[in-house]
Amino acid sequence: MMAKRLMTPFTLSNLIHLVTKPSLLACATVLFLSACAQKPAPSGITDPLEANNREVHAFNLAVDRALLRPTAQGYGKAPSPIRQGISNFANNLDMPSDVVNGLLQARPHNAAQNTLRFVVNTTVGIGGLFDPATALGLPAKTTDFGETLHVWGASEGNYVEVPFLGPSTERDLAGKVVDFGLNPLRYILPSPEGNIATVAAAASSLGDRHRYSDTIDSVLYESADSYAQARLLYLQNRRFELGQTTGAAADDAFEDPYEDLYGN
């Protein structure tokens, strides 16, 4: 009941509409011929669902306070090398998905680097528990299907806060749904091993909640308006990850407080 109410403005048909926009399909078909024209970098915040998003935010805060934060604190008591190993293991299992996304984005170099990483860490790194690839100069080129949609020309859409998952945009949420089914390992691994991947990913998220607890706590519990602060951080950081904060248009989006004071 609660989840249904929380999710109403973001229906499956919205999602399908977003993914199957004609421009997107056209873009996807010419993907390997040429890069699609990029829309101007977004600036500002598009949040027409704010009232509903704030309800989800309150729900997520309650989940974090009651469940996630205390569990992460408990998980943080495990020895650091073990937490690091689990985190490496989970990240390694994500690599095939990053390879697929790299190919869909027509970034063969990233796909090749991630493939090499996966091979090195799975063998030399004992099933991915260790990360010798980074030491060898092969850092992860982390990506997701939300970025693939961006490369294909999708704009970010409205800001949404998702129950349990937190800040996102319509584009990135659509990406998350696709990413869930995109990892080839999901189809290759037999069923008990497949579950290990999910468990490792959950443990790895707990590890992140623990490792960045100072930052996350300061945003969630020490901000005057944690919803607005989380929204701003997510959008700015995501645009940075997607390379939308470089170039002349992005420079114009940066603010010059002196213009206000002295004119220009």
Binding site: T215, L233, F240, F254, E255, Y258, L261
Partner: protein, 203 residues
């Protein structure tokens, strides 16, 4: 000890030269800030921050140090004014200066508490370039147990001397974040700037 934490790489130096050439091509007044001066300012600020982090002082002593570093290298009145947003236009001069003082202490406590995460790490300047009427100094922060992250400083001399007025961490810019935060605090006080100033003193 402090300055050897600041490594200017050959690549960074090259970018600095290119940025310098671009700066020369811009129609700037003769005495204006150059890309090298912007770099140097950030270099000094980083050296001071590194010295404080590695001094082994108590947390409260470090807050005092950070407040001094902040007031020496940052344009605090402009940052404060920007954080206050539209309310700054209708505030009196007395309110603005009281707000700026309270805000400076608040910032030192808020960000000073986080500087512990920098212990044992280092910040390396890798480049600088002109943007519009100011400069962006690009650095990489390498903290223990974390992947290196992008840290940018916006530097201007519009206040009469070289000072930074914005810090951007992985795309997240401090001015915008502060305006959101101070705006929310002001909303709680129904727009009463004096009440906001009192809140800041204890926040």
């Amino acid at each position: 000890m402090a300055t050897d934490k600041l490594i200017i790489t050959r690549r960074g130096f090259g970018i600095g030269l290119v940025g310098g050439a671009a700066a020369l091509a811009l129609p700037l007044p003769a005495a204006a800030l150059t890309v090298d001066q912007a770099r140097a300012l950030v270099g000094r600020a980083i050296a001071d921050v590194n010295a404080t982090i590695n001094s082994g002082k108590s947390a409260s002593a470090m807050y005092g140090d950070f407040e001094r570093i902040f007031s020496r290298y940052a344009d605090v009145p402009t940052i404060a004014r920007s954080a206050l947003g539209p309310a700054a236009r209708s505030a009196s001069n007395a309110q603005l200066s009281a707000f700026t003082r309270a805000y400076q202490g608040y910032i030192a406590r808020k960000y000073g508490a986080r500087f512990r995460e920098f212990i044992g790490g280092e910040i390396e300047v890798t480049g600088a370039r002109p943007i519009k009427s100011y400069f962006e100094v690009i650095s990489v922060a390498k903290l223990r147990g974390q992947a290196p992250f992008d840290l940018r400083w916006h530097v201007s001399d519009r206040a009469g001397k070289d000072l930074f007025f914005n810090i951007i961490i992985e795309g997240v810019n401090m001015l915008a974040s502060e305006r959101t935060e101070i705006g929310a605090m002001l909303d709680r006080r129904r727009g009463n700037v004096d009440a906001l100033i009192e809140d800041l003193k204890t926040a």
